[in-house]
């Protein structure tokens, strides 16, 4: 009996020692659990078209550049790069120790394969336009040019030369994006539709490797031991819970199942704020309304401006949305660099519509004057104005508040018409209503992702805005290589846009999240990604 007891005790001691070693190897970090969305569409870098999918891809893959500990763009799979003087040719030097999770070397050809696959029209990638920055990318995607003409070349295994279509000063931002990470031809070409579903074939070059994907339940990543920068990675394991219902998400956060959660019910934000769990993250996006320019009365810029000025943006943000949004004084949101990073683009050009609460009366007075000048004093003589939106996504309260403001301030009756999402998109495109609700999230940290869409005939231009001067500024900016001049062109263009008021920006998006008070070292980016690579519990 004594002998057995001794044996058990010895075994227990050994196990304890080993368990101790295990946690020591993980540099003391604990697994991080979080929820940012429900089941993703895909984890395939070429096919992904969403923020959540991109977030998971960034765990398992790394682009030439990547997101650093401070949220800025830093060297990733490439340790350094050079640019030609005209800004068109970029040469990236891939790290000698950049490895795939199965131990193979990351080569220039892995990037070329991935980009060609994304831009190939048969792949039908939503994000193919990220490759449009590269020479002939757009033509290849449209089937007008041969794949071999894409502006990429492997000078040797570890050197990649990229030729761009136009100079792109923010190209380092672009290559950090999940759509442009490298892919393994030997794996992907074998089973293009299923490779990204199975952890065994989901081979990446990023800080983590996929260990399991339980559909509709959980995606688990564990630290990769072949990643070149593995020594700096803190969290040993990340578990992404796939959840849909907002109340269920909040319960999961409250009972400690997840330490970080997105998509919290709006009604609960105040309580979570008081509890000290809430963080409002700025997001690169603008919520706005189209004032459809192609028909009366919004074919008159004065009427458009009057409608925009009569809006109390502070009221919308504080009393209606309550998610910590910022009132929009112009179209391009905060966070995009100007000539220098700080002060940013928005701060530099200032407010086009004053959002100071004390200026609101003045705005309204101006609005009344403009409307009278346009021939509709006190709103008399205006045709019936329709406001279209998609039902059931929280847009009605905003529209109703606007309806009330226009009625009180301008004496105008506006009819709100809600449609099912698919139907509304068609109506918005066809210009059925006078006003459409709209919103835009930027694709990259550059003014062009916002400004390009209001050129004449652009597919996103639901306001049917057309101004030759504006178009010229935008196409000039596309060719300009001097950063200061280029940014100035965007400032000029935005001034024209706000003067013409084809749209009325309402507020800049934010993203409320709840974070456990013990969790530290989280990195949030303006494009909506969250990185736990350096996160740990206090």
């Amino acid at each position: 009996m004594k002998r057995i007891l001794a044996l058990i005790l010895t075994l227990a001691a050994i196990i304890t020692v080993f368990a101790g070693c295990g946690s020591a190897a993980n540099t003391g970090g604990k697994a991080i659990s979080a929820t940012i969305a429900s089941e993703p569409k895909t984890l395939d870098p070429s096919l992904n078209n969403a923020v959540d999918g991109g977030n998971y891809i960034l765990c398992a893959f790394e682009g030439l550049t990547t997101i650093g500990k401070d949220g800025t763009i830093v060297a990733g799979a490439a340790e350094k790069w050079e640019t030609s003087t005209d800004g068109l040719v970029w040469t990236f030097h891939i790290r000698k120790d950049a490895k795939w999770s199965d131990g193979k070397d990351v080569t220039a050809n892995d990037f070329i394969y991935s980009w060609k696959r994304t831009v190939n029209k048969d792949t039908a990638a939503d994000y193919a336009y990220y490759v449009y920055f590269i020479k002939n990318g757009e033509k290849i995607n449209a089937g007008e040019a041969d794949m071999d003409t894409l502006g990429v070349k492997a000078l040797d295994d570890k050197t990649l030369e990229v030729t761009l279509e136009n100079a792109c000063p923010f190209f380092t931002e672009i290559v950090a994006f999940p759509a442009l990470v490298p892919q393994r031809e030997d794996i992907v070409a074998n089973n293009a539709s299923k490779w990204a579903l199975d952890p065994a074939t989901y081979v990446g070059n990023g800080p983590y490797k996929l260990t399991s994907w339980e559909h509709d339940s959980k995606i688990t990543f564990e630290k990769s031991d072949t990643y070149w920068g593995k020594d700096s990675i803190v969290a040993p394991k990340i578990e992404w819970y796939l959840m849909n219902d907002q109340n269920a998400i909040l319960s999961a956060f409250k009972n400690g199942q997840v330490a970080y959660a997105k998509n919290i019910p709006t009604d609960e934000l105040a309580a979570e704020k008081d509890a000290g769990n809430l963080k409002i993250l700025p997001l690169l996006g603008t919520y706005y309304i189209d004032l459809v320019n192609s028909k009366a009365p919004f074919d008159n810029p004065k009427v458009r401006k009057a409608f925009s000025l009569a809006i109390d943006r502070n009221y919308l943000v504080e009393k209606v949305k309550k998610g910590g949004e910022t009132p929009a004084s112009a179209f391009v949101p905060y966070g995009i660099a100007d000539v220098k990073q700080e002060p940013d683009f928005r701060t530099t050009s200032g407010e086009f519509i004053s959002t100071k609460p004390e200026d609101y009366e003045k705005n309204v007075a101006e609005a009344k004057k403009l409307l009278a000048e346009a021939g509709y004093p006190g709103g008399k003589g205006l045709p019936k104005i329709t406001f279209g939106l998609n039902s059931g996504s929280g847009h009605e309260p905003v529209a109703e508040a606007l309806q009330q403001m226009w009625k009180e301030n301008l004496g105008v009756e506006v009819e709100i018409l809600a449609q099912e999402w698919n139907v509304f998109q068609q109506s918005r495109k066809d210009g059925v209503y006078n006003i459409n609700r709209n919103g835009w999230l930027g694709d990259y940290m550059d003014p062009s992702t916002f400004m390009d869409m209001f050129t004449t005939g652009n597919g996103q231009n639901n306001a049917k805005y057309s101004n030759k001067q504006y178009d010229e500024k935008i196409s000039a900016a596309r060719k300009e290589t001097d950063t200061a001049k280029r940014i100035q062109l965007f400032h000029d263009a935005e001034k024209i846009l706000m003067e013409d008021a084809p749209i009325a920006p309402l507020y800049f998006y934010t993203e409320p999240v709840v974070i456990s008070k013990d969790l530290q070292g989280i990195v949030n980016t303006k494009l909506g990604f969250v990185l736990f690579n350096w996160a740990s519990f206090k």
Partner: protein, 307 residues
């Protein structure tokens, strides 16, 4: 009997085919596309996507191709869940709906029949009134209210049952099962009560009593067998409805069942998933109705289907 079953089977297949065709064309007639989001795609990218999924072809060609695939058991790949076969999605998600559905149907039928019978036998007593009050609530209150209230009270307040359910423990069945079965349970109770009242006043029951049979014998042998017929009629489609999952209940309790993917696939215009799940649900419904007809044959002495 065999002839009857064969005939019913052919009619079932025809029904399924009509349903398939109608759904296919209606789905393509409604506006929108699976590729439209807040982010609009450039015309080239949109054209590439439509070509990839064959949506650029004339609708009749698409119909023919899809029908052929379905005949070989291939429902295609989901558009919104890239690379995942619709068949795999159904196989993965249906068990959740099935498990919860069987649990809820069993509760609804068993408890409903018993309560209804008790109510009928104790007509106009306190017991009858109490049961009727509860089932009236069950019929009037929508399931999402039942779900939310029971979740708040028993899940959040008293911590008796989990609020997020993956149906892995018995206790995780209780709240969603209750929410899902409350309405059919109430409905069956009322059906059973009125049908039993009807039966009790029939001549053959009086005859049975006059013969001196015991109360128990009269109720179980003659009363229940006839009284349960309307319940059987109702139970077929009810079980099919409950089995195929409730979008509302599954969403509230975060159950990864098929009901929620059915609804989300429609709003997302995920054509292959909509078709696959519709065919599947349709087949389940038709099968349940078929089953009811067969059960009738055994339960109702008046039906003779050999004719």
């Amino acid at each position: 009997m065999a002839k009857y079953i064969l005939k019913r089977l052919l009619v079932s297949l025809l029904t399924l085919w009509i349903m398939f065709t109608l759904t296919f064309f209606l789905m393509h007639l409604t506006p929108g596309s699976p590729f439209l989001g807040d982010k609009k795609l450039t015309p080239e990218i949109l054209a590439n996507l439509e070509a990839k999924y064959g949506l650029d072809k004339p609708i009749l060609v698409q119909y023919e191709k899809y029908a052929k695939n379905v005949l070989t058991g291939d429902f295609g790949e989901s558009i919104t869940l890239a690379g995942q076969d619709v068949k795999d999605i159904i196989v993965r998600k249906f068990p959740y709906s099935l498990k919860l559905g069987l649990f809820s149907s069993a509760i609804a039928i068993l408890v409903g029949t018993v309560l209804g019978t008790i109510s009928a036998l104790k007509k106009n007593t306190g017991t009858d009134r109490a049961i009727m009050l509860i089932v009236t609530i069950g019929i009037a209150v929508p399931s999402f209210v039942v779900a939310t209230v029971s979740m708040v009270v028993f899940g959040v307040k008293f911590h008796l049952f989990p609020t997020v359910s993956h149906l892995d423990t018995l206790s995780s069945y209780i709240l969603p099962g209750f929410a899902l079965s409350f309405f059919p349970l109430s409905f069956i109770t009322r059906l059973m009560r009125s049908s039993m009242l009807d039966v009790i006043n029939q001549d053959y029951i009086r005859t049975a009593r006059a013969k001196g049979l015991s109360d128990r014998m009269v109720i179980f042998k003659h009363g229940l067998r006839n009284g349960i017929l309307p319940v059987v009629t109702y139970a077929g489609p009810m079980v099919a409805g409950v089995l195929t999952g409730s979008f509302v209940i599954e969403s509230i309790f975060s159950i990864p069942g098929l009901g929620s993917s059915f609804v989300t696939s429609i709003t997302a215009k995920d054509y292959p998933t909509v078709m696959g799940v519709t065919i599947f649900f349709g087949a389940v419904l038709i099968f349940m109705n078929f089953l009811v007809d067969i059960i009738y044959r055994f339960v109702d002495p008046r039906i003779n289907i050999t004719k």
